[in-house]
């Protein structure tokens, strides 16, 4: 109903999720095509994070199907590991490994999961650190970096796994205002290179510039899906209108 893409890379059908008796997601249907950029927004508690965390099974769903790159996502351990190597994830709170240097944070995944040698992994890591503009910090520990730098490292760490899709869970929400632009710039560059992206964010400038579609969620349901310009200028649903007026109101 909401999507007519011929070849979805991610296909979500009838997805339902509960926390105990609380319905977190209800009958979610969403397709994401290869190369597409989808921005998910909505008020807090609307299920945005739960939705993208189901895609790489950081959280289990109870009903419905999720298919990523032709593989159905199940709670089976081997299946989860396989999916997660295709799907990169960037968190609000970075989740870098504080006991490892930046370089070690980046090389761990390729060395353990992709069978890369130490020098190959190092080369790969430096390549992506260059891309996020912090190659000179490679030997520092995460705590020595600013929040914005840490988030860029987290993006590079995901990219080292050569994912086919990147999920972003409010990547700029925990950052000081002056750090946000650097992270968004990296994400825009990534988008321009054709990465498939699902981004939970309230950065409307980013959404306008990058998104192919905006998905608006409320109370665990998808309320509205539209291209960014029509969505921000003339939202159709009452709830989206209310949400946008609150977002812009101050």
């Amino acid at each position: 109903m909401l999507d007519q893409n011929p070849q979805p890379f991610v296909e979500i059908r009838g997805l339902c999720k509960w926390y105990g008796d609380f319905s977190a997601l209800h009958d979610i249907n969403l397709n994401v095509a290869l190369g597409e950029k989808v921005v998910v927004c909505g008020p807090s508690g609307s299920g945005k994070s739960s939705l993208i965390r189901c895609i790489n099974q950081l959280e289990a769903h109870q009903k419905g199907t999720i298919i990523v790159d032709g593989i159905e996502v199940t709670p089976d351990m081997k299946n989860k590991e396989k999916i997660r190597r295709e799907v990169g994830m960037v968190f609000q709170s970075f989740n870098l490994f504080p006991h490892m240097t930046i370089l070690a944070n980046l090389t761990l995944g390729p060395m353990r999961n992709r069978g890369a040698s130490k020098s190959e992994a190092r080369e790969l890591a430096m390549h992506y650190l260059n891309r996020v503009h912090i190659a000179e910090q490679a030997d520092k520990y995460p705590a020595q970096l600013s929040g914005g730098q840490q988030q860029r490292v987290a993006i590079a760490r995901s990219l080292c796994m050569k994912p086919k899709i990147m999920l972003f869970d409010e990547p700029t929400s925990a950052l000081d205002p002056e750090m946000i632009a650097g992270v968004l710039d990296v994400m825009i560059e990534l988008a321009e290179e054709g990465m498939t992206m699902v981004v939970v964010t309230h950065e409307m400038g980013f959404a306008r510039r990058v998104a192919d579609r905006v998905v608006f969620m409320d109370e665990g349901e998808i309320i509205e899906v539209a291209e960014p310009e029509p969505f921000f200028n003339t939202p159709q649903s009452e709830r989206a209108k209310l949400f946008l007026s609150q977002l812009l109101g101050h």
Binding site: K80, K82, P98, G109, S158
Partner: protein
């Protein structure tokens, strides 16, 4: 109200102002050290007077051979040193087994396996709710003959099982104490379960696990004295034998206690230095 713009002072030009040594604080610390010393001197005096009243014959000059003798220019270690070595050996082996049991039990309790969780829980409750002495007798008189285990290993295994139950809870607490985001970060790059714990979770739980585990090792060294009741040769057994030979109960028990104290204090200082270097590397 009028606006105001301050002329900035560059950081490099700001002088740090420190107050010097505060003599009042120094005097107070000295006074408190003096108070503590007075209490200890008083206690020592009471013990000495008590012993004198009993007409106890102190024979400190006789204790040297308890440690070592020199015969033909060769050092022969005495019973206390040999006992100490046995105690350290006993505690080291039991400690390694206890920590291994601790990790296995902790992971079993955290696992999805219902069987694993039940076995771990039964083990923990059984060990922690029965006296160590009873466990030792049970092991030595019942299980050891069945499985053909000698008294040294009966002692080692009893201690390991006992301390292992405490180690398990310490380790579980350390693992649970690691930030949830770290588990997700490891999951998100597709690490296997084993790799996740090996590279991410366990290294970060060590600062949480190590201090209480030191306490456990210290209590293991102290608890090892209990195996003297099944006549395993170690420090306390050596002390008992010396008293039987020489009747120097006061001297020997002071020495034995002093040796335990020296070992445990050395251990805790060593570990706190190690911890400090661990924390430093994290910065």
């Amino acid at each position: 109200m009028q606006g105001r713009v301050a002329a900035p002072t560059p950081r490099s030009l700001r002088q740090r102002e420190d107050t010097g040594l505060d003599m009042a604080v120094v005097r107070r610390i000295l006074w408190q050290v003096l108070q503590a010393s007075l209490v200890f001197v008083g206690l020592a005096y009471l013990i000495w007077r008590g012993a004198a009243a009993m007409e106890y014959n102190w024979q400190w000059y006789r204790v040297e051979p308890f440690f070592y003798r020199i015969i033909d220019g060769e050092i022969i270690w005495g019973p206390l040193v040999k006992g100490l070595i046995q105690t350290l050996k006993l505690a080291a082996i039991a400690g390694v087994i206890a920590i291994t049991i601790g990790f296995i039990t902790a992971f079993a309790r955290l696992s999805n396996s219902i069987a694993g969780r039940i076995i771990a829980k039964v083990y923990l409750e059984a060990i922690r709710n029965t006296p160590l002495l009873v466990q030792l007798f049970l092991f030595y008189f019942v299980l050891a003959p069945i499985f053909g285990i000698d008294r040294f290993w009966a002692g080692v295994l009893t201690l390991a099982l006992f301390e292992g139950s405490f180690a398990a809870e310490i380790i579980r607490g350390g693992i649970v104490g690691v930030d949830k985001g770290q588990f997700e970060g490891a999951d998100a790059i597709g690490l296997t379960l084993v790799d996740k714990y090996r590279f991410i979770i366990v290294p970060q739980s060590l600062p949480l696990i190590l201090p209480p585990l030191t306490g456990l090792t210290i209590s293991l060294i102290k608890h090892s004295a209990i195996v003297s009741v099944i006549a395993v040769s170690e420090l306390t057994t050596a002390g008992l034998n010396l008293i039987a030979d020489t009747f120097m109960a006061f001297e020997v028990w002071f020495l034995v206690a002093g040796i335990y104290l020296a070992v445990t204090i050395t251990l805790s200082v060593g570990v706190s230095l190690f911890e400090r270097s661990l924390n430093k590397s994290k910065r």
